[in-house]
């Protein structure tokens, strides 16, 4: 199969790759770009471990053709930490023990990032809805919700944002 040229911006860096058009976004991110923070879980749009942002929208990269991300701005979990420093959300996950095995964490972080951009001060219910599409099989949802809520309550001007 003839490979197609695909250019997209991932975490602020422009990439140009040649891919079989049947490649899914998660495959290109992991296998072509080496960005293995994004996890492949169920592969059937169910678990959310592969969640990334496309032009700011949370999507499941296991079920998006890479070609559909042409010219898009993609953010993966690798794009959250700046200059080797965890961002406030990542820090909060650490502080609240919001992971056990960690496999769902990248997807949870990306869904939470999208949620907080849209609703900087979400209610508990809105947080639950915001991560509804992400499954944590260790069932550590309460600490994840606490971690997100803690970042949301951060006052403007506080350290780290």
């Amino acid at each position: 199969m003839e490979k197609r040229r695909l250019s997209m911006t991932v975490n602020g860096q422009l990439y140009e790759v040649y891919v079989n058009p049947k490649r899914l976004l998660v495959e290109v991110l992991r296998d072509e770009l080496g960005l293995t923070g994004t996890k492949r879980g169920c592969d059937t749009v169910s678990c959310g471990a592969c969640t990334v942002l496309i032009n700011g929208l949370a999507v499941k990269s296991c079920s998006v053709l890479a070609m559909q991300a042409e010219d898009a701005e993609i953010t993966t979990v690798e794009g959250l930490a700046a200059g080797g420093q965890l961002n406030p959300l990542q820090r909060s996950f650490l502080d609240h023990g919001a992971y056990q095995c960690g496999f769902c964490t990248p997807g949870m972080l990306m869904s939470a990032t999208a949620l907080l951009r849209e609703k900087p001060d979400p209610t508990r219910r809105e947080i639950q809805e915001g991560i509804h599409g992400n499954i944590c099989r260790c069932t550590g949802y309460n600490s994840i919700i606490r971690a997100i809520a803690a970042v949301a309550q951060r006052k403007p001007g506080e350290e780290g944002q």
Binding site: M1, R4, N20, P21, K22, L24, D43, T44, V45, G48, T51, I54, L57, A58, V59, K60, S63, V64, L65, M67, Q68, E70, S111, A114, E129, G130, H132, G133, N134
Partner: protein, 291 residues
């Protein structure tokens, strides 16, 4: 493993229709692909050509005016419908329905046109749009035509679209005064595909008698379908418990459910009864309370 295909990305709607005509029968159209890619990965759908219309902004719009009603372009995402002020103001039932479709991620990428053309009998928009008397504008390279939502779903994953036709737009007529519409699905896990669902739309006159009714059932037949007998038995009636019991029974008889891993046929009929009574009552009360 997804079978190899030739990826085609038309720049305009006209180009998309030309490609569809050229490759008819051996291509699939992809919107957000939230259902299609799963089927392709399972090897159930193996198109030689894939025509990508996700990026076609010509089909990405929501407009409303009193004369023409609501128009939603086929590539509009579920999330855009869910968060549209126009939809919220005029068809809150569509917002409520969308909030319960899959996950935010799926709603961010999946399109209304893709959902309808996929024609999963458990899909949520189908029954609601049938209850709202919606219709779908479709086209090939030669002509356009309009298919009522009620006549669009032909069989399990089969629609009235010809193999060179593309779904362009969903049209929902402005609702008559004193009309209410309600939708609910039964799921084990919130936002899953429904095990059974019912949409009902009721219009009443000044004294609260039903002058028009639509009842659409989801996930209990090869397609979303109307419970026509139940609808007819509502006409001229006033809301009451005996009537609701009768309607629930009729609707449940009109369902054609199967037994599968999720529920038995009997349980699905029971769900239709419960949901039909509940949705008719809800729509009716809305209609009475509305202007």
């Amino acid at each position: 493993m997804i079978r190899d295909f030739v990826y085609l990305k038309p720049g305009t709607l006209d180009e998309a229709l030309a490609l569809l005509s050229e490759h008819r029968g051996e291509c699939k159209v992809i919107g957000g692909g939230q259902s299609l890619l799963i089927l392709m990965r399972q090897g159930l759908v193996t198109p030689a050509y894939l025509i990508d219309i996700k990026h076609l902004d010509e089909l990405n719009s929501i407009t409303f005016d009193n004369k023409d009603g609501l128009k939603i372009g086929a590539t509009t995402t579920h999330r855009t419908i869910e968060t549209s002020e126009a939809v919220k103001a005029h068809f809150p039932v569509l917002v409520e329905m969308e909030q319960n479709v899959a996950s935010i991620q799926t709603r961010n990428w999946g399109t209304i046109g893709g959902n309808l053309a996929h024609a999963d009998p458990a899909g949520d928009p189908g029954p609601v749009l049938i209850a709202l008397d919606a219709s779908f504008r479709v086209a090939n390279t030669e002509q356009e035509r309009t298919i009522s939502a009620d006549a669009f779903f032909l069989d399990y994953f089969e629609t009235a679209l010809q193999d060179d036709e593309l779904l362009l737009e969903v049209k929902v007529p402005t609702q008559k005064p004193k009309t209410g519409t309600a939708y609910e699905k039964f799921t084990i896990i919130k936002n899953d595909l429904g095990i059974a669902s019912v949409a009902a739309s009721v219009t009443v006159d000044k004294v609260g008698k039903c002058t028009k009714a639509r009842i659409a059932l989801g996930a209990v037949a090869p397609t979303a379908r109307r419970a026509i007998q139940a609808e007819q038995d509502l006409l001229g009636q006033t809301l009451g418990e005996d009537l609701l019991n009768h309607i629930a029974q009729k609707a449940s008889e009109e369902a054609k459910p199967i037994s599968d891993i999720h529920a038995s046929e009997d349980f699905r009929r029971h769900l239709v009864k419960v949901l039909a009574a509940r949705m008719v009552a809800k729509a009716w009360k809305q209609a009475i309370a509305s202007a």
